[in-house]
């Protein structure tokens, strides 16, 4: 993997691509199939992405499910900023966009979609947010990368890639729609 292709990361850091465009494509295709299999045709499934990149991934999954089944499934986004447990560690952050499909989430199987599963705190916040938005029949979790180091009893139902990481490393996801290219990079902080 030549470093020349990688997007610039801050000076001294070492970045290694762990997933390239085609890998992401294949992982999402597999997850879409798994969702269809596990939910028996995704009859009452609602895909909800966590902004920013989770929302993009949710839309991509919805496209694939529509391709395979010839039927659109509801897709939306749920912003978790107001439910975070670390709000008081930083100045107030701008809010993301919450966008529920018209049918809502009551009695649906909600599949939360995020790019990276790490501590599990984001998913915890998302579960709280869902609680205020309705009462789904079940909630499942899909993630492109599971990098471990959970701090809460949370696991993913659908995983694009299990990626063993050191806690000091950073996982950065780039997606065509927001970043101009598809890639997942593992960034190790350089020696300073």
């Amino acid at each position: 993997m030549s470093d020349a292709q990688n997007p610039p990361v801050s000076g001294g850091d070492l970045a290694r691509a762990v997933l390239e465009g085609p890998d992401i494509h294949r992982a999402l295709t597999r997850i879409a199939h798994e969702i269809l299999e596990r939910t028996k045709g995704a009859q009452s499934v609602v895909l909800l992405g966590i902004p920013t990149r989770g929302a993009t991934l949710a839309r991509r999954l919805a496209e694939r499910v529509a391709q395979f089944e010839g039927r659109k499934i509801p897709v939306g986004a749920v912003d978790i900023t107001m439910y975070r447990d670390d709000l008081r560690l930083k100045p107030a952050r701008p809010l993301g966009h919450t966008d529920l499909p018209p049918g809502g989430i009551d009695d649906k199987i909600v599949v939360l979609v995020d790019d990276v599963l790490f501590s599990g705190r984001t998913v915890r916040a998302a579960l709280d947010a869902l609680n205020d938005l309705g009462r789904p029949r079940a909630v499942q979790l899909a993630t492109l990368v599971d990098r471990g180091h959970r701090e809460l009893p949370i696991r993913a139902d659908y995983v694009g890639k299990n990626l063993p990481t050191a806690k000091s490393e950073k996982v950065r996801v780039f997606l065509e729609e927001t970043d101009g290219r598809d890639a997942v990079l593992l960034v190790r902080e350089g020696e300073r």
Partner: protein, 308 residues
């Protein structure tokens, strides 16, 4: 941003951040559980030295929807009526652990003074004839929701400019958001040095109406008027009131606003106030949303010494 004292303190980016945050929060008011846990454990004190219904209730609803604890303090029936000073009241609130103080006071500049005495954030909910920044923010928010933009919008603010804190805050905010404001009033109801404000001034409502996208009617504040500023209510109404005939001069997409409370039949006719192009009721709903955005941005993140 630590305090919100003047709309003039808000740069274009700050103001847009508040409006965009409000846009996201507007959905909270539409769902069945109208509550977010964000300000759990924060205390907001509503300190109202002047009568107010909608602003106080609006701030209270906004704080409660964000799960903050709300303490309402009105000067009537409090130790203020026994002669307690603003500073002593402030220190009392400080001792109760207020994270934010929302203050309305009849003296211009009271919130500014208060900000030096308390550790928490101070939000100006109207001070004398000076400013009412959250009203200007909710007005801008209402305009943007109805008309889709603020840049280049032509806004006429009509009436008792002299006693209006809403007018000053609107002029300052709308100027930084790129709208073009024209103040319309009889010369006696314009403040000194209005020519230095970032807006145009006219005495002729009929000339301004056809080119306006927004007409904001202000209440004639009889309680603040200590002299005869116009010959009679009837004459004021004939020259500066928005009635059916004047309303017809507006172009088809133009909207009519009023910060409330209205004097129906004085500055605005009942027919115009209740028309579908009037945003008066919407403004109240948007007020809660915009105040939620302000409280979130002031209190939602790290405050004081909480970082590290």
């Amino acid at each position: 941003m630590k305090h919100l004292i003047s709309a003039g303190d808000l740069g274009r980016d700050d103001a847009l951040l508040i409006l965009d945050t409000a846009e996201e929060l507007a959905r909270v008011s539409e769902r069945s559980i109208k509550k977010l846990p964000t300000l759990r454990g924060r205390t907001v004190v509503n300190l109202f030295f002047e009568d107010s219904t909608r602003t106080r209730i609006s701030f209270e609803a906004a704080a409660k929807r964000l799960s903050a604890d709300v303490i309402n303090f009105s000067a009537k029936g409090s130790s203020v009526s026994k002669g307690e000073s603003l500073k002593d009241t402030a220190l009392t609130l400080e001792a109760m652990g207020a994270d934010a103080v929302v203050i309305r006071h009849s003296a211009s500049g009271a919130p500014h003074r208060l900000a030096n005495w308390v550790r928490g954030s101070v939000v100006n909910a109207g001070d004398g004839t000076h400013e009412h920044p959250t009203q200007a923010l909710l007005d801008a928010f209402s305009m943007r929701r109805r008309l889709g933009r603020l840049e280049g919008l032509k806004v006429a603010v009509v009436g008792d400019i002299l006693h209006s804190r809403v007018a000053r805050s609107n002029v300052l905010l709308l100027a930084s958001l790129g709208a073009e404001v024209t103040l319309v009033a009889p010369p006696t109801l314009l403040p000194v040095a209005v020519e230095n404000w970032p807006c145009l001034v006219s005495y002729d409502l009929d000339a301004v109406l056809p080119k306006s996208d927004v007409v904001m009617m202000l209440r004639v504040q009889l309680e603040r008027q200590n002299a005869a500023f116009f010959p009679s209510a009837r004459e004021y109404s004939r020259r500066y009131g928005l009635d059916r005939d004047r309303f017809a001069k507006l172009h088809d997409d133009a909207i009519v606003m009023h910060p409330g409370p209205m004097n129906r039949g004085m500055e605005i006719s009942a027919e115009v106030a209740d028309s579908p192009r009037s945003t008066i009721v919407e403004q109240v709903a948007n007020g809660v949303t915009v105040r939620m955005a302000v409280l979130y941005l002031l209190l939602g993140g790290a405050i004081g010494g909480e970082v590290q």
